[in-house]
């Protein structure tokens, strides 16, 4: 047998595990932008072909923003908690506390006081979660479930105690002040002209964009702003690095002198505060409720889902929340026919995907995508109207379908949900 030893430096030999990629990965923001462009392209084509302009009207995007906002806040809350390694299924409960706090604060001190009170109440929920999971090492899910129960119970109880005398209704607060809205008038008018111009693509993009610059509340701006802010803090600062390290390998972090407990506490306080603000966004926006029992209606869970959907990253969760808000808005505003049009859009998307897979010679994936396209096209073609009862759940269907189609590799923080005790690592 001949020797087939290849030459090479020892270092190369030991490094076969190294990144196999040769191409530079596309930066996250660019990828996000590409996704957005692709989505608008598909939507405008669909709206052109089906004649349903609800899909790209400015009111739809405005609605979408509004419906996405609580989910966005909750998802950001989830991000902070889970990046520090703590599963936060208690977002719902913290949101409920936030709704109560928002109404209470706003009633006595105006909208900003309401927002702050909401954040504080949410943060109290976060603090409780921290005490349970970090200090006592309680299973994160147990604690989350308990906080959801407690949040509900406490908010009801406080509402009975505080709001009942004011509003005569233990389940509702008295009317509270709401945030004013602002529009970028010039931009908005210009976009309105464009939207009215009925040019394929441009008008659609203008419509969608216009909704985002018209009648926007400071709270919505804050929410959108918090996405890049969260990114910056978590990925570009020393505090963020330490916080994320607690979610990846707390023992290593500890061994480098990071105070893991303190960081987890901080993360959970922020997380609860954000969830509380999510609650506030149900109370303090015009057209919303004041405090109203059960008004969160599972949005905390949806926020968690949006965050997982977004692969534990700020840009991704923004996409998740937007997707949910958008399809909910379309569904509410446009009803069954708009949802059918969405089906049509999905057919287009899948067709494109099929081609992409074919080009990349991934035949199985291409086949599946084609099959999905055909199936959805059949739905579109065979039905004039979908079962009325199912229409309200369009966003939920969309979320599942998108997750199933987008073959993304999720990368949760490594140590998420693990119990960590100081000095017990090895």
């Amino acid at each position: 047998m001949s020797t087939t030893v290849e030459t090479g430096s020892p270092n190369e030999a030991g490094a076969t595990k190294q990144e196999p990629r040769t191409r530079r990965p596309i930066p996250g923001w660019l990828r996000g932008a590409l996704w957005a462009v692709a989505a608008i392209a598909v939507l405008s084509t669909t709206s052109y072909l089906t004649g349903i302009d609800t899909l790209t009207s400015s009111s739809t995007s405005q609605t979408a923003l509004r419906l996405a906002l609580p989910i966005l806040f909750a998802a950001l809350g989830g991000l902070w908690a889970e990046r520090s390694g703590v599963i936060n299924i208690g977002l719902e409960g913290m949101m409920i506390l936030g709704t109560w706090g928002a109404a209470w604060g706003a009633f006595y001190g105006g909208v900003w006081a309401g927002l702050i009170a909401a954040a504080v109440f949410g943060a109290l929920g976060g603090l409780l979660h921290a005490v349970a999971t970090v200090t006592f090492g309680v299973n994160h899910i147990v604690s989350g479930v308990a906080i959801n129960l407690l949040g509900l119970g406490v908010a009801k109880y406080l509402a009975d105690l505080v709001f009942q005398p004011l509003s005569g209704n233990p389940r509702q607060s008295p009317p509270v002040p709401k945030f004013d809205t602002y529009s970028a008038t010039f931009l908005s008018d210009w976009l309105a002209d464009l939207e009215a111009a009925q040019r394929v693509g441009i008008s659609d993009a203008a419509g969608l964009l216009r909704g985002l610059v018209t009648q926007v509340s400071p709270l919505a701006m804050l929410g959108l702003l918090l996405v890049p802010v969260s990114y910056f803090v978590l990925w570009r600062t020393r505090f963020g690095l330490r916080l994320r390290s607690c979610g990846e390998n707390p023992v290593a972090a500890e061994s480098l002198g990071v105070n893991v407990y303190a960081h987890k506490y901080a993360a959970l306080l922020v997380s609860g505060g954000l969830a509380g603000m999510g609650g506030a966004s149900l109370v303090l926006l015009s057209g919303g409720a004041d405090y109203l029992e059960n008004q969160t209606n599972g949005r905390g869970y949806i926020g968690l889902a949006a965050m997982i959907f977004g692969n534990w990253r700020p840009g991704g969760l923004l996409g998740g929340a937007a997707l949910f808000g958008y399809s909910d808005g379309v569904q509410l505003a446009g009803g069954g026919e708009a949802v059918l049009a969405l089906c049509y859009g999905a057919v287009l998307l899948l067709a494109v995907l099929t081609v992409v897979h074919l080009v990349r010679r991934r035949f199985l994936a291409a086949g599946l995508a084609a099959l999905g396209a055909v199936a959805l096209y059949y739905v579109y073609w065979a039905n004039d109207e979908l079962p009325r009862e199912l229409i309200p759940y369009t966003p939920h269907f969309v979320t599942i379908i998108v997750l199933a189609v987008a073959a993304q590799k999720l990368r949760p923080p490594r140590a998420i949900g693990k119990r960590y005790r100081r000095g017990e690592g090895d």
């Binding site: 009111s59 609605t63 209704n169 149900l282 057209g287 409720a289 029992e293 009325r388 309200p392």
Partner: protein, 354 residues
């Protein structure tokens, strides 16, 4: 910054312009006020039990109305003792039974169950306490001697709402927002649509529900109500009628933002604290007088004269009606009363299903 306050909704449109195609009904003769408010009934030996549906006292809806009826009974007939208990959102069937049983056992009589959700519980409990009087609001499916159904002709009241809506609509386009797609809410829709069509043959009516049957979040989500309201307005509707519980508030705000009008439901929402900020868009409310029914029922029990109660609380007995607070329908009350008279007289039959 957007200009915060839109001026109060336009109260012009004297008489619906060219939308109304049917001739106004003949003027009704003096309204059927046959209720003789004699305060001589003494009910001091009654102990009234009130079992609420989800929401309970203070829900600004039918639970609250029932409470008002009892309060009035306490005040005017001297009912000595009352008890109240509220269903929780997710409680199981036997919690309802337990609630009724508990009251019966403690000697409350009559016991009023508010909401059709109590039907099954009542079926089970009533036979066990044959000497106790039970009443149930919104349900007539319980067949027991000691159970009195207190049901309403929501479709008749909604009919008038439909009439009023068309008269006030400038675009000849009105909308209905239902909270949850249940048979009960469908009655509202049915009456409203029939009323609108009765007045105009070219009126367009938008109908939307927030959630399907079983998903009660539709009664509790003002932001969704707001979105749907806006969308209906976007399609051209300018008078919106809601039967969506707390979500209705979102509908009101949508109307307010777009200078449209809205019609409240169940109680006189113009005077309701929780929607005080937007009350200037509420042109009228479809009244469902659960309070009257409850009061009358207690009175009938006190007088031991249950047969005096109507089979259905309808327009004729003022079990349903419309409110005039805010004065926005003052100009068309004659027309509304005309239609009311026709319905009472049986000249117009309002169907309970769409």
């Amino acid at each position: 910054k957007d200009s915060g306050d839109n001026s109060a909704a336009g109260d012009g449109g004297e008489s619906g312009g060219d939308c109304v195609t049917a001739a106004a009904p003949p003027r009704a003769e003096a309204s059927s006020q046959k209720r003789e408010e004699s305060a001589d009934v003494d009910a001091s030996d009654l102990k009234v039990g009130l079992a609420y549906d989800v929401g309970g006292r203070g829900d600004a809806s039918f639970n609250d109305a029932a409470a008002a009826g009892v309060d009035k009974a306490v005040e005017e007939m001297g009912v000595s003792d009352t008890t109240e208990s509220t269903a929780a959102g997710t409680e199981s069937e036997d919690a309802k039974q337990q609630r009724l049983t508990q009251m019966a056992r403690e000697g409350y009589d009559p016991i009023i169950a508010v909401g059709f959700a109590y039907a099954d519980a009542l079926k089970a409990v009533a036979p066990k306490f044959p000497d106790t009087h039970f009443a149930i609001v919104d349900d007539d499916s319980v067949e027991a001697k000691n159970v009195t159904p207190l049901v309403f002709a929501e479709e008749e009241g909604s009919f008038l709402a439909g009439v009023a809506a068309v008269y006030k609509s400038e675009n000849c386009h009105v909308g209905f927002v239902g909270g949850v797609d249940t048979p009960l809410i469908k009655k509202f829709e049915a009456g409203f649509v029939q009323g609108a069509k009765a007045v105009s043959d070219k009126v367009k009516v938008e109908v939307d529900y927030l959630t399907p049957a079983g998903d009660i979040s539709g009664f509790n989500d003002p932001s969704k109500g707001n979105v749907v309201g806006k969308s209906q307005i976007g399609k051209g509707a300018d008078v919106l009628y809601h039967a969506a519980g707390a979500s209705g508030r979102g509908v009101f705000e949508a109307a307010k933002d777009a200078d449209a009008l809205a019609i409240g439901v169940d109680s006189d929402q113009y005077n309701q604290k929780t929607v005080a900020e937007v009350k200037d868009v509420i042109m009228t409310s479809m009244l469902k007088r659960v309070d009257v029914a409850v009061y009358d029922y207690i009175r009938a029990v006190a007088e031991d004269d249950l047969d005096s109660l109507p089979e259905r609380f309808d327009l004729e007995v003022d079990g349903v009606g419309y409110s005039t607070s805010g004065g926005k329908v003052d100009d068309i009350t004659e027309i509304l009363d005309g239609y009311k008279a026709q319905i009472v007289a049986g000249e117009i039959k309002v169907s309970a299903t769409p």
